[in-house]
Symmetry: C2
Subunit: 281 residues, 2 copies
């Protein structure tokens, strides 16, 4: 018996496509419907085996779904989740995969129609690559997925969504939306901003002299610019706070270099190495 009868995935790119592949591989749904705006992307999703059927008509796509997963860029999650609630089954459960949660969860935890409930999720499994062609059934295996219930969220709804991610191989971390947003500002959004600023600040004529270090440090800057604009804008206050902490360390580096303070310079590099060494390569 499958956990879900019909799952509707709105936005079948890297994350949505990987969800479809994983749900099918693990036989967790009887039917998976892919919903999108471009027929071309939907065709690719069908060809990749990520979904059973597709439609560009959201109302039709969510009609029979007991679970709807919104995998669009963060700026569109609220709107699509609302449409899904309006046109979906009574008692359907909706989640998302957005990188910023606070305002989305606040808005969508107001009464949705007919017993439909929203519980926010964020699988930490993104990539600078976009599109269903990069989707993988094991994308969530061994990854952390943060699930961010609102104080109104019923425990059975939280458990169902946490169970979804666990069944896909994720380790679920429960956080408030605000704590999540503060955390990922530091661990994901500021790193993206820095990578992007570094890439933008590198003179083009010097690119032939870059090597592995520059490539690693700037890799995420290749991510979709509009998608990241939405994330940074949505989470701007936490990002600015986190950026201020980074700027403080950067200022200490600058002062050590300007003053020729070798002991300070070494201790800053050692602090960075110590933190980085905590995790693997």
């Amino acid at each position: 018996m499958s956990n879900w009868n019909t799952v509707a995935i709105i936005g079948v790119g890297l994350i949505g496509g990987s969800l479809g592949l994983a749900l099918r591989e693990k036989k967790l749904a009887n039917k998976i419907v892919g919903i999108g705006r471009r027929a071309g992307s939907l065709k690719k999703a069908r060809q990749a085996g990520a979904v059973d059927s597709t439609t560009t008509d959201l109302a039709r796509g969510v009609k029979d779904a007991d679970l709807v997963i919104v995998c669009t860029p963060v700026g569109q999650i609220v709107e699509f989740a609302r449409q899904a609630a309006a046109h979906g089954r009574e008692g359907a459960l909706i989640t998302d995969v957005g990188s910023a949660k606070e305002s989305i969860v606040n808005v969508l935890s107001q009464d949705l129609s007919r017993g439909v409930a929203f519980v926010g999720s964020h699988p930490l499994a993104g990539s600078e690559k976009a599109g269903v062609e990069f989707a993988r059934a094991d994308l969530f295996e061994g990854r952390v997925t943060v699930v961010t219930p609102h104080r109104r969220t019923k425990s059975e709804h939280y458990s169902a969504i946490a169970g979804l991610w666990e069944s896909l191989g994720s380790r679920v971390v429960r956080m408030t939306p605000a704590a999540h947003d503060a955390a990922v500002a530091a661990t994901s959004h500021v790193p993206h901003l820095l990578a992007s600023a570094l890439a933008a600040a590198t003179p083009e004529e010097l690119l032939p002299l870059t090597a592995g270090g520059w490539l690693d440090t700037t890799r995420v800057a290749a991510g979709d610019a509009e998608l990241w604009r939405q994330i940074l804008a949505e989470n701007s206050s936490h990002v600015l706070n986190s950026l201020a902490k980074f700027e403080k360390v950067l200022k200490a580096f600058r002062a050590a270099l300007e003053d020729g303070d070798q002991a300070r310079l070494l201790s800053l590099l050692e602090a960075g190495k110590q933190t980085r060494d905590t995790l693997g390569s």
Copy 2:
């Protein structure tokens, strides 16, 4: 016929060890001597097949060498190159692999004893990994090596060193030491500094919430702290200049976030993406 009779490698870690492996694999030297301070590292270098023999006695190690390659951290290159010149063969050629060149090349282009000549090199092939256990014969294949002649450098000496790197598979770029140092400040030293500052600024309790983006962006921060202290200190004026350019872009990002200027935020992200997309993943 080998290109070199005896090659002495001072410092047999990742780079020195890879040089030994590559020279042996390509049969470019009749004999390769590894010189180091720690018997344990030298033993590993012999076991890895990177060198034919080893010694902790620099004078003895360089005695018969027609080529000496100094692969120590930048802070020790001048001292070891001078010792090699003092104890080496008449007419021996010395190069190095240091990441900062201007002061090293200036000092070592003064008359060395008995016709010994120094030509500076920098293969862009480093890694956050250290030690001969990570050495690879193909480390320089397809990589850029910058060769930085002084105005006193004789053309046959430049050609011999450029030829060395080409024979190891590198593409050689000829630059003045000052131009090299300005370039790598932007492409390598500032990226390292930022990666290190980002790692140091990330609260330890949030590390479980990092994913691929943070890992990529901070990867080089795992590099040896003392080695990088020497590089940043040696090249501090260029690093500070290059850092100022980065800070200007960062300030623009901050302003766009504070002002909610979405068009500006998007254009900054697009500029970073455009530069990053110029190179591969």
